[in-house]
C-alpha cells in the first residue's frame, strides 16, 4: 500500500544485479530450436514457391494449392477453374500463400514463438531483452496483428481445399502413400486452424452466458480442447505441410518412384 513514511532515494530502487539473468538452466535452448525450425520453414517455403514440379496426378503440392492460374496443369486446377487469366505468369503459389502465411504470421502462438526467438523480446522468461524501448502491439505495424480473425476465415477455406485435394487423391489412388500423407497433413492443418484463439472467441468465447447457447458452448469446448494443444498442432502442421509438399515434388520429379508412391 502507499505508505506515508519518508522514503530515501535508494529505497525506491530495484536490486542492482548487473547480470542479464541468474538462470542456470539452458534457457536459450528453446528459442534456438524455435529459430532453427522457423528458419528452415522459411527457406523451404521460398524454394518451394519457385519450384515448378508441384503437380503429379492425383497429387498437388500443398504449397501450390489451390492452383488458380492458367499456367496450372488442367488436373491441378481447383474444380477445373483458372480465374486468373493468361497474363499471370508467376508461380501459382504466390497467389494464395499470403493467406495461410498471414494466418500463421498473426497466430497467437507463432507470435510468441518469433517474438521470443527472432526479436528476443524476451528470449526467455526472466532473461532481459536487448531493446531499449518497447511498445508491444500498441501501434503500427504490430497493431495489425489484430486482424488475425480475417486470416482465420481464409485459412478455413484453404484448409478445406487441402482436405478436398487429399480426399480426391485418395479416391483416385487409395493405395498411394502420397494420398495418405496429404490426408494426415490436411487433418493436422484443420486441427491447427480450428484450434485458433480467434475461432475460440467466435464460437462462444465472446459470450458471457454459455448456458443460454448450448450448441455454441459445445463448439467452444471442442475448440478449447484443440486450442490447449495449439502449439503442438502449429509445429506438427508446419512440418507435415513441408513433408507433404516435398513428397509430392519428389514424386513429380521422379526421385521417388516406388509402386505405391
Amino acid at each position: 500500500m502507499t505508505q506515508t513514511t519518508a522514503e530515501s532515494a535508494a529505497r525506491k530502487q530495484r536490486a542492482q544485479i548487473r547480470v542479464r539473468t541468474l538462470r542456470t538452466d539452458r534457457w536459450w535452448l528453446a528459442p534456438a530450436f524455435t529459430f532453427a525450425g522457423l528458419l528452415l520453414f522459411l527457406i523451404y517455403g521460398f524454394w518451394a514457391i519457385f519450384d515448378g514440379s508441384y503437380f503429379v496426378d492425383p497429387y498437388i503440392a500443398p504449397f501450390s494449392s489451390p492452383c488458380l492460374a492458367t499456367s496450372c496443369p488442367e488436373g491441378a486446377r481447383l474444380f477445373g477453374l483458372a480465374p486468373f487469366g493468361d497474363w499471370y505468369t508467376l508461380p501459382p503459389g504466390i497467389l494464395i500463400l499470403g493467406l495461410p502465411g498471414g494466418f500463421r504470421l498473426t497466430c497467437y502462438y507463432y507470435r510468441k514463438a518469433y517474438y521470443r526467438s527472432f526479436w528476443l523480446s524476451p528470449p526467455a522468461c526472466a532473461v532481459a531483452e536487448p531493446h531499449g524501448k518497447y511498445t508491444g502491439e500498441t501501434r503500427l505495424p504490430l497493431i495489425l496483428q489484430n486482424i488475425h480473425r480475417y486470416f482465420f476465415y481464409f485459412a478455413i477455406i484453404i484448409g478445406l481445399i487441402l482436405t478436398y485435394d487429399a480426399v480426391l487423391a485418395l479416391v483416385h489412388k487409395p493405395a498411394g502413400l502420397g494420398s495418405w500423407i496429404l490426408l494426415v497433413n490436411a487433418a493436422l492443418i484443420l486441427c491447427y486452424t480450428f484450434g485458433c484463439h480467434s475461432c475460440r472467441h467466435i464460437t462462444a468465447g465472446r459470450l458471457n452466458h454459455f448456458s443460454r447457447h448450448p450448441l455454441r458452448y459445445k463448439a467452444w469446448t471442442l475448440v478449447s480442447k484443440l486450442n490447449a494443444r495449439h502449439q503442438q498442432f502449429a509445429w506438427a502442421s508446419l512440418f507435415s505441410v513441408m513433408i507433404a509438399d516435398l513428397y509430392v515434388r519428389l514424386v513429380a520429379k521422379g526421385v521417388i518412384n516406388f509402386p505405391f508412391a
Binding site: M1, T2, Q3, T4, T5
Partner: protein, 628 residues
C-alpha cells in the same frame, strides 16, 4: 512520530477485519485497517471448506434453527447462545452480500449457490468455491474495500479519505484514556518507524494463537496479538482452554507438518483407515452422537448418495472427536509410517472427480509431499488449528468490557463454545465482523468528545527494548521452546501434572523473553519482530495453561486424561482470564454461563439436553417448553 486520526481502527485484515472495516466505512466512519502482512494475505485464505449458512439451496429442510442446534451441539452447549443464534440467522444474508460484491461461488443446477456437507452439519450447508473458499472470501472483501476507495476517490478526490490500509504494520499496544480506548501504537515492519493511531474505537480481528504450538495449521501471524492486546488493555478472555486440533493435518515431510488437509476430503467421500486397513472411526462414536451416525460401512457409503434415508459416516463427526480418535489409534501403534493415519480418497472417487472437487489438495500434496492423492492415500494427523476462546464480547455489538474495544472472528470468544464446527468460522467472520464494525460506529456516534492518547513513551520503550540489548537470548530459541512446551504439555490430551510443568516452563520463558536481543537495524528485521511477538504468545499460553488446569472435565477442545468425562456442573462455568496492564499476574476465575433463552432451548429434545444439563437446568427447560 507518525500520527493518524481515525474514527475506527481495525487491527487485522482477514475476513472479520475487512468486514468490520467495510461496515464502519459504510456507516460513514473514517476507518483504518492495520495488518501485519500485505493486504489480502491474511490467514483467512487458508480456509478451504466453505462458509456455513442455512440457505437451504441443496436441502430445503435447512433453516437457521437447525444450524443453531448443530452449532450448540458441536460446541457441547458451552456456546454463547445469543451469538450462535445471530450467527445462524444472519449467515445467509452475509453470504448473499458477498455475491453482490463479486464473489463467484460454485452453483447448483438451478443456478443458486451450491452447498456441501461438512462434519457436524445436519444438511449440506457450506457455500464454497472448490476448496479455496477462504481465498474467495478475502479477495471479495479486499475488492469491496477497493470499490469503496474508488467511490471515495470520485466523491472526495482521495481514495484513502475514508478507508485506508496500513499494511505490514504491527500494533504492539492499545492506548487508553482512563478506562476507555483512545488509540493504538505500533510500528511499520518495513522501516521500523513507530506509528500512532488516535481513535476512540478499536476493533480487534487478529485471529488466533496457533504459533504457540509446533504442529499447527496457522501462519506466523497467529501469535495471539489481539488476545494479548485485549488482556493488557484490561479486557477479559473466556474459554481459553478450548483449542481445536484439526484432525487432518499433513504429517510429512517435516517442514509442512501441520498444514491443513481440508475436511471436504471426508465430506466428499474420503475415509480414515489405520495401518491394519480398518475404518476405525466406527469404534469411536460417542454416546451423545450414537443415533446420528452410521454404524456399518454399508450404511455410511449409502449416505453419500442418499442422505435422507441413511445416517452419516463417522468420519464426519465433529473435529474434536475425530482428532482424539486419530490420536488414540497412533498411540495404540496402529498409525501410518510417518506417525499419522491414512486418509484415502483415491479408492473412493474417480481421479478426474478428485481433481475437480479438491484441486488445491491435489496440488498441495503433489507439490509438497510428492503424493498423488488420486492414486494413493494421504497420511494425516491432528494439528493445532483454531482457538475457541477469546475476548469476551457482547453478542450484538462485538463490544468488549473495555469501552471502545471491539472484537470479531477468532480473537473473540464464546460463539463456538468448546468446539467449532467446520464452516462456521467463515460465516462467523462475516456475521460478527459486520456487527463489530457497526458496534464501533455506533459507539463513536455516542461519544461526547474524543479521548486523548496516553502512554506513548512506555509503549515505545517496550518496543525498542530487544534492539537495545546486546548479547541476550536468541528469540527464535525461546519461541521454539514455548512451542514444544505447549505442544507436548498442553496439547490435545492434557494432565494436571503436565500442565503444571508447562506453567513452570512458561514462567522461566517469560524471564528469558525479557532478555531477548535482536541484532540488525529496525528495517524489516524479523528477529526484532519475533522478540516483540513473544510477549503476546507467552501471555496467551499462560491463559491457556491456567484455564486448562482449572477445568476438571473433558469437553470439545479440552481433553483431560485425568478427568475424561463431561460434567454438567462444569458446563455452567466459564473460565475468565485477565491480567494487569504490565502483563504480570495472569488470573483465571470462574464465572457463570448464562442460561439459554426459553424459545431457543425449546428447540432441543429433552432426551438430548439430559446429556448436557444439570437437573436444575432441565427443570427450567420443562418450564420453558410448557410456556411455549
Amino acid at each position: 512520530m507518525e500520527r493518524h486520526e481515525y474514527d475506527v481502527v481495525v487491527i487485522g485484515a482477514g475476513g472479520a477485519g475487512l468486514r468490520a472495516a467495510i461496515e464502519a466505512r459504510q456507516q460513514g466512519k473514517r476507518t483504518a485497517i492495520v495488518c501485519k502482512s500485505l493486504f489480502g494475505k491474511a490467514h483467512t485464505v487458508m480456509a478451504e471448506g466453505g462458509a456455513a449458512a442455512a440457505m437451504g439451496n441443496v436441502n430445503s429442510s435447512d433453516n437457521w434453527m437447525v444450524h443453531f442446534r448443530d452449532t450448540m451441539r458441536g460446541g457441547k452447549f458451552l456456546n454463547n447462545w445469543r451469538m450462535a443464534e445471530l450467527h445462524a440467522k444472519e449467515a445467509p444474508d452475509r453470504v448473499w452480500e458477498l455475491e453482490a460484491w463479486g464473489a463467484l461461488f460454485d452453483r447448483t443446477k438451478d443456478g443458486k449457490i451450491s452447498q456441501r456437507n461438512f462434519g457436524g452439519h445436519e444438511y449440506p450447508r457450506l457455500a464454497h468455491v472448490g476448496d479455496r473458499t477462504g481465498l474467495e472470501l478475502i479477495r471479495t472483501l479486499q475488492q469491496r474495500v477497493v470499490a469503496l476507495q474508488q467511490e471515495d476517490e470520485k466523491l472526495h478526490g482521495d481514495p484513502e479519505a475514508y478507508i485506508k490500509v496500513f499494511a505490514e504494520c504491527t500494533v504492539t499496544r492499545l492506548l487508553k484514556d482512563g478506562d476507555a480506548i483512545s488509540g493504538a501504537f505500533g510500528y511499520w515492519r518495513e522501516t521500523g518507524d513507530f506509528i500512532v493511531f488516535d481513535a476512540p474505537a478499536v476493533v480487534l480481528a487478529t485471529g488466533g494463537i496457533g504459533k504457540s504450538y509446533v504442529v499447527t495449521s496457522n501462519s506466523w501471524e497467529y501469535t495471539g496479538d489481539g488476545h494479548a492486546l485485549a488482556l493488557l488493555a484490561g479486557a477479559r478472555l473466556i474459554n481459553m482452554e478450548f483449542i481445536q486440533f484439526h484432525p487432518t493435518g499433513m504429517v510429512w515431510p517435516p517442514s509442512v507438518r501441520g498444514i491443513l488437509v481440508t475436511e471436504s476430503v471426508r465430506g466428499d467421500g474420503g475415509v480414515l483407515r489405520n495401518s491394519e486397513g480398518r475404518r476405525f472411526m466406527f469404534d469411536y462414536i460417542p454416546d451423545v452422537f450414537k443415533d446420528k451416525y452410521a454404524t456399518t460401512e454399508e450404511e455410511a457409503d449409502r449416505w453419500y448418495d442418499d442422505q435422507a434415508n441413511n445416517r452419516r459416516p463417522p468420519e464426519l463427526l465433529p473435529r474434536d472427536e475425530v482428532a482424539r480418535a486419530i490420536n488414540a489409534e497412533v498411540k495404540a501403534g496402529r498409525g501410518s509410517p510417518q506417525g499419522g493415519v491414512f486418509l484415502d480418497v483415491s479408492t473412493r472417487l474417480p481421479a478426474a472427480e478428485i481433481t475437480r472437487r479438491l484441486p488445491s489438495m491435489h496440488h498441495q500434496f503433489k507439490e509438497l509431499a510428492d503424493v498423488d492423492i488420486t492414486k494413493e492415500p494421504m497420511q494425516v494427523g491432528p494439528t493445532c488449528h483454531y482457538v475457541m476462546g477469546g475476548v469476551e464480547v457482547d453478542a450484538d455489538t462485538g463490544a468488549a468490557s473495555v469501552p471502545g474495544l471491539f472484537a470479531a472472528g477468532e480473537v473473540s470468544g464464546g460463539m463456538h463454545g468448546s468446539n467449532r464446527l467446520g464452516g462456521n468460522s467463515l460465516s462467523d467472520l462475516l456475521v460478527f465482523g459486520r456487527r463489530a464494525g457497526a458496534g464501533a460506529a455506533a459507539y463513536v456516534d455516542g461519544l461526547a468528545k474524543r479521548p486523548a492518547v496516553t502512554g506513548l513513551d512506555e509503549a515505545q520503550t517496550e518496543a525498542l527494548a530487544p534492539l537495545e540489548r546486546s548479547g541476550g537470548e536468541n528469540p527464535y530459541e525461546v519461541h521454539h521452546e514455548l512451542q514444544r512446551t505447549m505442544n507436548d504439555l498442553v496439547g490435545i490430551i492434557r494432565k494436571s501434572e503436565e500442565i503444571s510443568e508447562a506453567l513452570q516452563v512458561i514462567e522461566k520463558l517469560k524471564e528469558r523473553a525479557k532478555n531477548t536481543a535482536s541484532s540488525g537495524s529496525r528495517i524489516y528485521n524479523p528477529g526484532w519482530h519475533l522478540a516483540i511477538d513473544l510477549r503476546n504468545m507467552l501471555l496467551v499460553s499462560e491463559c491457556v495453561a491456567k484455564a486448562a488446569l482449572l477445568r476438571e472435565e473433558s469437553r470439545g477442545g479440552h481433553t483431560r486424561d485425568d478427568y475424561p468425562g463431561m460434567s454438567a456442573e462444569w458446563r455452567r462455568r466459564l473460565l475468565v482470564c485477565s491480567a494487569k496492564p504490565d502483563g504480570t499476574s495472569i488470573t483465571v476465575e470462574e464465572d457463570v454461563q448464562p442460561s439459554m433463552r426459553g424459545d431457543l432451548i425449546s428447540l432441543f429434545e429433552r432426551s438430548e439436553l439430559e446429556k448436557y444439563l444439570t437437573e436444575e437446568e432441565l427443570a427450567e427447560y420443562d418450564a420453558a417448553v410448557k410456556e411455549s
